[in-house]
C-alpha cells in the first residue's frame, strides 16, 4: 500500500468508489461474533463460490462485514443496495439466494424476518422494527464495511475528519469542538470527554499517552468488542485526533485476550493505517507523529479501571491506586495520560465530520449523542442497539427488543452491568441518560442491559452480580475484598432460607461502607445491585427472610416441585426424565415426587406437556402445606 497525504486521500476515495461502480450488487454477510458462532464464515465463502460459479463476479461483490447488531437472528445476510434482509440463513440457502434474489430479483419469503407483533414479513433491513427505532450513527457503518479492508472505511469518508483536523484545525479548536458537542465518556462515569482532553493537554510534559479502554468485562456486554471487530478504523481515527488535540505521541489499545477477533482486526487495521501513513511519522504529510500499540489484557474485570489498566500496561499486577494524582497528571509511566472507552473514540470522527452542532442536537440536555446498549436476557430480540440518549426504557425493550420472551411479564432491567442496578417495571417510562439512571440508583456503565422477566428472583440476581464482583475484586482494599464477600455470604444465606431479621439492615450498612470506603470504582459501585433490589424489591427480601419463600420460585432451598394429582395424566414423561429417580408412578396413574430424593433440577417441569402442566412449584406456606400432606399420608401408610 502507498503512503498517502491529505490531497491523495480525496483522490483515493474517488478511485475506490470508481473501481466499484460496476459491482452494483453487494451481498454482505454479518461477521460479528454472534454470527461467527452460527457459522457465517462458511456462508460467506459459499456465497463467493456461488457467485463465481454463476459467473457474476464482475457485478456482484461479497463482503464479510462487522456486526449488524441483531444477533438473535443470525447469520444475517443483507443484499445491497436494496437492503434486502435475510435472517437465519443456512448453507443450503446460498445457491437459491444467488439464483433467485440476485439473478431473478425475487424475494425468498422464508428467509424474511416476521414481525412477531403484526405477523407481517419484512423485506428491508431498515424496516425491521429492531432497527427502525435505533439511531445508528456509530454502529450503522458496520454493516457496510469489511473491517479487514481499509479501503471500505475510506470509501465511507474514513480519515476525512483526521485530514481536516491536521490541516485546518488547531489542537484547541479540536478540543473546543469536542467540548461543544457535549460528548460524555462512554466507559461508565460519563465525564465530559472534551474537558478530560483539555486537562491532559494543559499538563506540560515531554511525553503524553492516550489509551483506548477496550477491556470490556461486564457479563453480557459486547458493544466495544463489536466496534473493534466491525469498524476498527473509526476507533483508530478517533484516537489519532485525540492524540493530536492532547499532544500525545503514543497510544495503547488495551483489549482483552478473550476477544481474539477484535485483537486480530484491530492489529490488522493498525498495520494498514501505518502503511498508508495514517499512523507513524508525519501523518498524512503533516508535522504530527503518533503511533498505537495493542496491549492484550489477561481478562481481569478490574483492569478496566483506569489506574489498574496503566499498572497492567506497565507490567504490574492490575491494582488500582488512589487518585489524585489523576492519569492526566501522572499516568502511564508517570506521564500525563488520557483514557477513553472504545465507543467514545468512535464518536470523535463523527463529531469532527459533522460538527458539534449537529451532534449536540441528538440526545438530552446533559447527555448528547447516541449510546450503544447490549440488550440481553429474557428479551425477544437479543442484540446490540444504538439509540439516542433520552429514549425510554419501554421503547428499547418493547419496540426495539420486541418484548419479553414467551409472553412473560417484564420485571426489571439491570443496566450498567454488575456495577449498575435493577430498574423495576413501574419505571419503564424512564428516559435514559447518564443522570436519570444514576438517580434511579443504577448507572449507564458501559451499556449492558439485562432484561428480567417475572421468573427472576431479585435476591438471587443481587447474589449473582455480587458473586461476580466479589470474584473480580482485585483484593487490594478491605471494603471491596472482604465486604463483597460478606455481602455474598448474607445474600446466600437469605436465598437458602437462613436469612435473619437484621439481615436487611446489615446489607444496607455494609453496602454503605463498601461504597464509601472502597478505593476504586469497582468497589464503590459493587453494592449497587443489592441497594437497588432492596430499594425496589424489598418485599422479596422480606418474603425470603420472614416467610422463607421465594416469590419468583427460583431459590431451590425455598421451593418444592409437586405433581398436581388432579392434572397428572400418568404419561411417564417426567418419571423417565428424572435424573435421580425421585418420581414414582405407573402408566395412567398419578405420579408422585419423593421430596427427600428430589434435587429440584426442574427436569419434570420442563418435560410436562403444556396441555397437562401438572408439575408445579410451591414456596412459602403453600409449600409447607403440601409437605405436611405428604408427611401425613406417609404416616397413614
Amino acid at each position: 500500500m502507498e503512503k498517502i497525504n491529505a490531497t491523495r486521500l480525496e483522490e483515493l476515495k474517488a478511485e475506490i468508489l470508481d473501481s466499484r461502480k460496476d459491482q452494483k450488487t453487494c451481498i454482505t454477510v454479518c461477521g460479528g461474533t454472534g454470527c461467527h458462532a452460527y457459522g457465517c464464515l462458511q456462508i460467506a465463502d459459499a456465497f463467493r463460490d456461488e457467485v463465481k460459479r454463476q459467473k457474476l463476479k464482475a457485478t456482484v461483490d461479497v463482503r464479510t462485514t462487522g456486526c449488524h447488531g441483531f444477533c438473535e437472528r443470525g447469520p444475517i445476510t443483507v443484499i445491497q443496495p436494496d437492503g434486502i434482509f435475510y435472517q437465519r440463513v443456512k448453507l443450503e440457502d446460498v445457491a437459491e439466494v444467488v439464483t433467485e434474489t440476485i439473478r431473478n430479483k425475487k424475494i425468498i419469503d422464508r428467509l424474511l424476518y416476521i414481525d412477531p407483533r403484526t405477523g407481517k414479513k419484512i423485506i428491508k433491513e431498515k424496516e425491521v422494527p429492531f432497527y427502525k427505532k435505533q439511531k445508528r450513527i456509530i454502529f450503522g457503518n458496520n454493516g457496510f464495511i469489511d473491517p479487514t479492508d481499509i479501503e471500505d472505511y475510506i470509501a465511507l469518508d474514513g480519515y476525512k475528519a483526521l485530514a481536516k483536523v491536521l490541516f485546518d484545525m488547531t489542537a484547541d479548536e479540536v478540543i473546543a469542538e469536542v467540548k461543544d458537542s457535549g460528548l460524555r465518556g462512554r466507559g461508565g462515569a460519563g465525564f465530559l470527554a472534551g474537558l478530560k482532553w483539555e486537562i491532559c493537554r494543559n499538563v506540560s510534559s515531554d511525553v503524553k499517552y492516550i489509551i483506548c479502554n477496550a477491556d470490556e468485562g461486564d457479563p453480557g456486554a459486547y458493544m466495544d468488542r463489536s466496534l473493534l471487530e466491525g469498524n476498527p478504523h473509526s476507533v483508530i481515527e478517533g484516537m489519532i485526533i485525540g492524540a493530536y488535540a492532547i499532544g500525545a505521541s503514543e497510544g495503547y489499545i488495551y483489549v482483552r485476550m478473550e476477544y481474539p477477533l477484535a485483537v486480530k482486526n484491530i492489529t490488522l487495521a493498525l498495520e494498514q493505517a501505518r502503511e498508508m501513513g495514517f499512523l507513524g511519522d508525519s501523518i498524512l504529510g503533516s508535522e504530527f507523529s503518533f503511533d498505537i500499540h495493542v496491549f492484550k489484557g489477561a481478562g481481569a474485570f478490574v483492569s478496566g479501571e483506569e489506574t489498574s489498566m496503566m499498572a497492567s500496561i506497565e507490567g504490574r499486577r492490575a491494582f488500582p491506586r488512589q487518585r489524585p494524582p489523576f492519569p492526566a497528571q501522572e499516568g502511564l509511566w508517570g506521564k500525563p495520560t488520557n483514557i477513553n472507552n472504545v465507543e467514545t473514540w468512535a464518536n470523535i470522527p463523527l463529531i469532527l465530520n459533522k460538527g458539534a452542532d449537529w451532534y449536540s442536537h441528538i440526545g438530552t440536555r446533559k447527555s448528547k449523542g447516541t449510546k450503544i446498549f447490549s440488550l440481553v436476557g429474557k428479551i425477544n430480540n437479543t442484540g446490540l442497539v444504538e439509540v439516542p440518549m433520552g429514549i425510554s426504557l419501554r421503547e428499547i425493550i418493547y419496540e426495539i427488543g420486541g418484548g419479553i420472551k414467551d409472553g412473560k411479564k417484564f420485571k426489571a432491567v439491570q443496566t450498567g452491568g454488575p456495577s449498575g442496578g435493577c430498574i423495576p417495571a413501574d419505571m419503564l417510562d424512564l428516559t435514559i441518560d447518564f443522570d436519570t439512571l444514576t438517580k434511579a440508583g443504577s448507572m449507564m456503565g458501559s451499556g449492558g442491559m439485562i432484561v428480567m422477566d417475572e421468573d427472576t428472583c431479585m435476591v438471587d440476581v443481587a447474589r449473582y452480580f455480587l458473586e461476580f464482583t466479589q470474584e473480580e475484586s482485585c483484593g487490594k482494599c478491605v471494603p471491596c475484598r472482604v465486604g463483597t464477600r460478606q455481602l455474598v455470604e448474607i445474600l446466600t444465606r437469605i436465598t437458602k432460607g437462613r436469612g435473619e431479621e437484621r439481615d436487611i439492615q446489615k446489607l444496607q450498612d455494609l453496602a454503605k461502607t463498601i461504597k464509601a470506603g472502597s478505593l476504586c470504582g469497582l468497589g464503590q459501585t459493587a453494592p449497587n445491585p443489592v441497594l437497588t433490589t432492596l430499594r425496589y424489591f424489598e418485599n422479596e427480601y422480606e418474603a425470603h427472610i420472614n416467610q422463607k419463600s421465594c416469590p419468583a420460585l427460583v431459590c431451590k432451598d425455598l421451593i418444592i416441585y409437586h405433581i398436581d394429582p388432579k392434572k397428572c395424566v400418568g404419561c411417564l414423561l417426567c418419571l423417565k426424565n428424572c435424573p435421580v429417580d425421585a418420581i414414582s408412578g405407573e402408566r395412567k396413574q398419578v405420579h408422585v415426587i419423593d421430596q427427600d430424593l428430589c434435587i429440584k433440577c426442574g427436569a419434570c417441569l420442563d418435560v410436562c406437556p403444556p396441555k397437562v402442566s401438572a408439575v408445579v412449584r410451591y414456596t412459602g406456606k403453600k409449600k409447607e402445606r403440601v409437605l405436611k400432606n405428604v408427611q401425613s399420608k406417609r404416616a397413614k401408610k
Binding site: 483484593g475 487490594k476 482494599c477 478491605v478 464477600r485 455470604e489 478505593l519
Partner: protein, 837 residues
C-alpha cells in the same frame, strides 16, 4: 503551607501525606497498610478522613495536603466506618482473643507456652504483644464483630529457613510485597489470585529459597501481624530491653537493634536510625547474630597444653604461660596474624605489641587479597593517590554505575540497595563479571567477560571514550602514552578475548559517556596474577570518564586495619612472607587472632590462638585465649565507606571470654610494659587518634547524634594515568585440568566460625560445600544437583557437592570460602572434577 487538622493549625509540606503530617503533631489516625519506608498503598482504608469540600472519604495515607485544607480525622461516621472495616478485616483473622473481654489478664491463667501449629487466637500467636493489629483494635475499640468469621485454611509454610509464613493471619496490607519490590528490588513475593482468594504468594507457589529470596527479613520486619514470624523467636518471651550494636558480618557495618530478655539476645533487627543501613539489613544481620554469639563452638575458658592435652586454666595461669614461652623466642622468630574482624583498638594494640613488646616485624593480616590493599599498592607504585572514602548516597547520585568483579547483592546487600535506588530513578547499570550476578535483571547491560579479560575490556571502553570524547582540552599526565598504547588495541582482539560482541561493547561505552559515573569493584578483579593490569585499566577508564572509583573490601574492619597499617609508618612483613618463614622454620612461634588460609599446613614450635570459636588451629594450639565477641565488648569498626562506628557491649561476656585488647594488654604487662595498662577501650582509641591522625576526627560520642565521622584523607586525588602494564595471558586450564575454580566472596564467617556450620538456614541458602557449575558442564560430566564430587587442582583437592546454576559460565566452577580451607597464592585454580563417594 498551612492545613487545619481537627481544628489544629499545622504547618505542612507537599511531600508528606496527611497521615504523616497528623502523626507528627500527635494526632492519631489508625492505619495498617501504611509504612514510613514504603510508598502509599491505600489498601486497609482505616486511615480515612473527611476533607472539607471534598466528596466522600479519603485515605489520609495516600492524600497530600493542600493549602488551607481542612481535615477531620474523627467523626461519628468515620468511627462507624472504621469499626465496620476493622470488623471486615477481623472476619478473616483469628479474632477470638482480640475481642475477648478477659484479654488483659489472660496470661495469669495460661499455664504453658504456645504449643500449637495453627494459630487460632492471640494467645497462640508468636506475635502476641508486638502486633499492630492488636494496637489498632485497642484504638478503635471494637468489642463485637458483626460478620461471620471465615477461616481461609491456608497451609502454614514452614519449608524455608529463618521464618514461617502463615497467611491465615495475613491482612493483605501488602507491606511485604512492597518492601520486597520497592526497597529490596527482589520481588520474590507478590499478590496472587483475585477477590476473596487474593493472598500473598510466590511464583507457582514455590518455596522462597527457589524464587530468589535472599532472606533479608525485610518482609518480616514490616509485617504488622504474625503472618511472617522469625522462627527463632516463636516460642520466646517478649524482649525486656533493647540495645544497639554494629553488625560485624560484612564491611557495611549496619546498625542493629538487639532485642534482649534477662540479659540474653533474642533477636536482632535493622535499626531504623542506622545511618548506613536506613532500617534495612541482610540475612546475616537479621538472622545470624544470635546464633553467632551463642554458638556451641564458643571458647569459654583460657586453655593451655599440658601433657599433650588442652586444659582449662585461669587467666593468670594462661597469660603467664604464654608470656614465659614467648620470651624464649627472638623477635624475628615470632609471627602475629591480625584479624580484620576485630576492632581498631584490638588491632592497634596487636601492632604495638608486636613492635614494642616482642619486637617483631612479622605482623600482618591473613586475607592478603583485599581490594583496598591491592588498589593502594598498584596506585602507590605509580605515585597515584586514590581516595578511599565515599558516602553511600554518592552511589545513587551517579548517572551510570559500573560494577566489576563482585556480586554486590550478595557481598554487600545494603550497598546494593543504594544501586537499586539509583536504577529506579534512571541510572544506568553496567555489570562486568564472568558470572551472572544476583539482580542481573536490574542491569542496563551485563558484560559477561571471559575470566581474566577484564583489563582488555576496560581498555577498550577507554579507547571508545577517547574516540567519542568531545575534546574539552583536558590533558592529564600520562595521557599521551595511554593514547598511543590504546591504539594497538583492536576491536577484534577485544571481542575475541572478552567473548562480548562489538555492539554490546560500544553500547556500554556510550552509556558510560552519558553523565556522572561511578565504578565499584571487588575481589573478582584481584583474583589472578593480573591484579595490577586490571586495576590500572579500571583506574584509567574512571579517570578518563571523570568518574568515582570505589574498591570494596569485604571484612568488617578491613578499612580500619588497612588505615592502621598504612598510616602507622612501621615497616612490617607482608603476609605471604610470614607464611613462607613459618614454613621455612624461621618463625617458630605464632600468635593468631584470626583464621589463616591453608592453616592445616602451618606448623610451628609454639602456637597461641586467640579467637571466639574453636577451630582447626585451636585444636593444635599450645595456648588458647577466649576472645569476647563484638556483642560482649566495646570498640570501633571503620566501615567500607571510611565511616568510623563505635559499638558497645550488649551482653555480659560468655564464660571467661575477654575483649581482645584486654588480653593483649594483660599479656604485655607480663613484660612489665606499664603503658599497656588500659581500663577501657576508649583509652586505647584516644591513643590511636594521637598515633594515627587519620582517626583524629573520631570521638567516643560520635554515635550520639552529631555528624558522621570519617577517616581523614587528603581530598585531592592525584589525577594521572597509569601505564597499561600488559601482562601476557597465560592459559590456566589444560587438558588434565579443564575447569577454572574461582571463589565467591561473601563474608559468611565470623572469626573462625563458618556461619553455615552453626546456622542450618545458611547451609540451605549458601552452602560452603557447594560447587556451582553451569548445567551444560554438569550434563557433560553427568552430574546432578547434590552429587558428591572431588575437585582436584595441582596443589590439592577439596570435596563438595554439585549445584547447577546458569549464573556460572561454562568452564568455571564457583565455590565460596574454599580458600579458607585450602592454601593458594592464586584464588583462580585450574581443576578437574571427579565424582566422589
Amino acid at each position: 503551607m498551612k492545613v487545619i487538622i481537627d481544628g489544629k493549625k499545622l504547618e505542612a509540606d507537599g511531600h508528606k501525606t496527611i497521615l504523616e503530617t497528623a502523626r507528627e503533631s500527635d494526632i492519631f489516625i489508625p492505619s495498617l497498610c501504611d509504612h514510613p519506608q514504603l510508598l502509599p498503598f491505600g489498601g486497609c482504608r482505616l486511615c480515612i478522613v473527611e476533607i472539607k469540600g471534598r466528596k466522600g472519604l479519603v485515605p489520609s495515607c495516600s492524600t497530600y495536603p493542600e493549602e488551607g485544607m481542612e481535615v477531620k480525622t474523627d467523626s461519628a461516621n468515620l468511627r462507624r466506618m472504621r469499626k465496620q472495616i476493622l470488623g471486615l478485616i477481623l472476619s478473616e483473622h483469628p479474632d477470638a482473643c482480640l475481642i475477648c473481654s478477659e484479654k488483659e489478664n489472660c496470661d495469669e491463667y495460661k499455664s504453658t507456652i504456645r504449643k500449637v501449629g495453627e494459630v487460632t487466637g492471640c494467645v497462640l500467636c508468636p506475635n502476641n504483644g508486638r502486633c499492630e493489629l492488636q494496637d489498632v483494635v485497642e484504638a478503635i475499640q471494637i468489642d463485637k464483630i458483626d460478620f461471620p468469621s471465615v477461616y481461609r485454611d491456608y497451609e502454614v509454610r514452614r519449608d524455608d529457613p529463618f521464618f514461617d509464613r502463615n497467611y491465615n493471619l495475613c491482612i493483605l496490607c501488602g507491606r511485604c510485597v512492597r518492601v520486597c519490590h520497592e526497597i529490596r528490588g527482589a520481588s520474590t513475593v507478590t499478590f496472587v489470585f483475585r477477590g476473596s482468594h487474593a493472598v500473598v504468594g510466590t511464583v507457582l507457589d514455590r518455596p522462597l529459597q527457589e524464587v530468589g529470596c535472599q532472606f533479608c527479613g525485610a518482609c518480616v520486619d514490616v509485617c504488622p501481624t504474625g503472618a511472617l514470624t522469625e522462627r527463632a523467636i516463636k516460642y520466646e518471651p517478649l524482649p525486656d530491653d533493647q540495645a544497639k550494636t554494629i553488625c560485624p558480618l560484612c564491611s557495611m557495618g549496619c546498625e542493629l537493634d538487639v532485642m534482649l530478655n534477662k540479659g540474653r539476645i533474642l533477636s536482632t533487627r535493622p535499626s531504623k536510625e542506622g545511618a548506613v543501613n536506613l532500617g534495612q539489613a541482610c540475612v546475616k544481620g537479621r538472622f545470624a547474630i544470635k546464633d553467632t554469639v551463642y554458638s556451641s563452638q564458643r571458647i569459654l575458658k583460657p586453655m593451655i597444653r599440658r601433657r599433650k592435652e588442652l586444659e582449662e586454666v585461669s587467666w593468670d595461669e594462661a597469660l603467664d604461660f604464654v608470656a614465659q614461652r614467648l620470651k624464649s623466642y627472638k623477635g624475628k622468630e615470632i609471627g602475629l596474624i591480625q584479624s580484620p574482624q576485630i576492632s581498631c583498638e584490638g588491632n592497634f594494640l596487636v601492632e604495638r605489641f608486636a613492635r614494642e613488646v616482642v619486637k617483631s616485624q612479622n605482623v600482618d593480616f591473613s586475607t592478603g587479597i583485599s581490594p583496598l590493599e591491592a588498589f593502594y599498592e598498584t596506585a602507590h607504585k605509580d605515585k597515584v593517590k586514590p581516595r578511599f572514602n565515599f558516602k553511600r548516597e554518592e552511589i545513587s547520585e551517579a548517572d551510570v554505575i559500573l560494577l566489576a568483579g563482585l556480586n554486590l547483592a550478595v557481598s554487600h546487600p545494603i550497598l546494593w540497595l543504594e544501586v537499586l535506588k539509583a536504577v529506579r530513578k534512571g541510572t544506568k547499570l553496567i555489570m562486568v563479571s564472568p558470572d551472572e550476578p544476583l539482580g542481573g535483571r536490574h542491569t542496563t547491560v551485563c558484560l559477561r567477560v571471559k575470566p581474566g579479560s577484564e583489563a582488555s575490556l576496560f581498555n577498550y571502553l577507554s579507547k571508545r571514550l577517547l574516540k567519542d570524547e568531545q575534546a574539552d582540552g583536558r590533558v592529564l599526565e600520562g595521557q599521551e602514552f595511554f593514547t598511543t598504547d590504546l591504539a594497538k588495541l583492536t576491536a577484534a582482539k577485544v571481542v575475541e578475548s572478552t567473548g562480548i560482541d562489538e555492539n554490546t561493547l560500544n553500547y556500554a561505552a556510550r552509556l558510560l559517556s552519558e553523565g556522572k559515573s561511578c565504578f565499584i569493584f571487588g575481589m573478582g578483579l584481584i583474583q589472578d596474577s593480573r591484579i595490577e593490569q586490571n586495576l590500572a585499566a579500571l583506574w584509567n577508564l574512571a579517570l578518563l570518564n571523570k568518574g568515582r572509583i570505589i574498591p570494596l573490601g569485604l571484612e568488617t574492619n578491613s578499612r580500619g586495619l588497612f588505615e592502621i597499617k598504612r598510616k602507622s609508618g612501621q615497616k612490617t612483613k607482608p603476609f605471604d612472607q610470614i607464611v613462607q618463614e613459618v614454613k621455612g622454620g624461621q618463625i617458630k612461634a605464632l600468635y593468631l587472632f584470626g583464621p589463616v588460609p591453608g592453616n592445616k599446613k602451618l606448623k610451628t614450635e609454639f602456637l597461641v590462638v586467640q579467637d571466639s570459636y574453636l577451630n582447626k588451629m585451636s585444636e593444635r594450639a599450645d595456648a588458647v585465649f577466649p576472645a569476647a565477641t563484638f556483642a560482649e565488648s566495646d570498640g570501633m569498626f571503620v566501615n567500607v565507606e571510611g565511616r568510623m562506628q563505635s559499638f558497645h557491649r550488649v551482653i555480659e561476656p560468655l564464660g571467661d571470654a575477654k575483649p581482645d585488647w584486654w588480653i593483649v594488654s594483660q599479656l604485655a604487662l607480663r613484660w612489665g610494659k606499664k603503658d599497656f595498662l588500659y581500663k577501657k577501650s576508649s583509652d586505647i582509641l584516644r591513643e590511636l587518634k594521637k598515633a594515627i591522625p587519620a582517626f583524629s576526627k573520631v570521638s567516643t560520642s560520635a554515635q550520639k547524634g552529631g555528624l558522621p565521622r570519617f577517616i581523614q584523607e587528603s581530598d585531592k586525588e592525584k589525577e594521572k594515568f597509569m601505564p597499561l602494564k600488559y601482562q601476557e595471558r597465560t592459559e590456566l586450564t589444560s587438558k588434565t585440568y579443564p575447569f577454572l575454580l574461582g571463589s565467591e566472596y561473601n563474608l559468611d564467617y565470623y572469626r573462625s566460625l563458618i556461619l553455615s556450620d552453626e546456622i542450618k538456614g545458611f547451609e540451605i541458602i549458601r552452602n560452603p560445600r557447594w560447587f556451582k557449575l553451569n548445567p551444560k558442564d554438569a550434563k557433560r560430566l553427568d552430574l546432578e544437583d547434590g552429587d558428591e564430587v572431588e575437585v582436584v587442582s595441582p596443589v590439592g583437592k577439596i570435596k563438595g557437592i554439585i549445584r547447577n546454576t546458569d549464573s556460572v559460565p561454562e568452564g568455571m566452577v564457583r565455590s565460596c570460602l574454599f580458600w579458607i580451607e585450602e592454601p593458594s597464592s592464586s584464588p583462580l585454580l585450574p581443576v578437574k572434577i571427579k565424582r566422589g563417594k
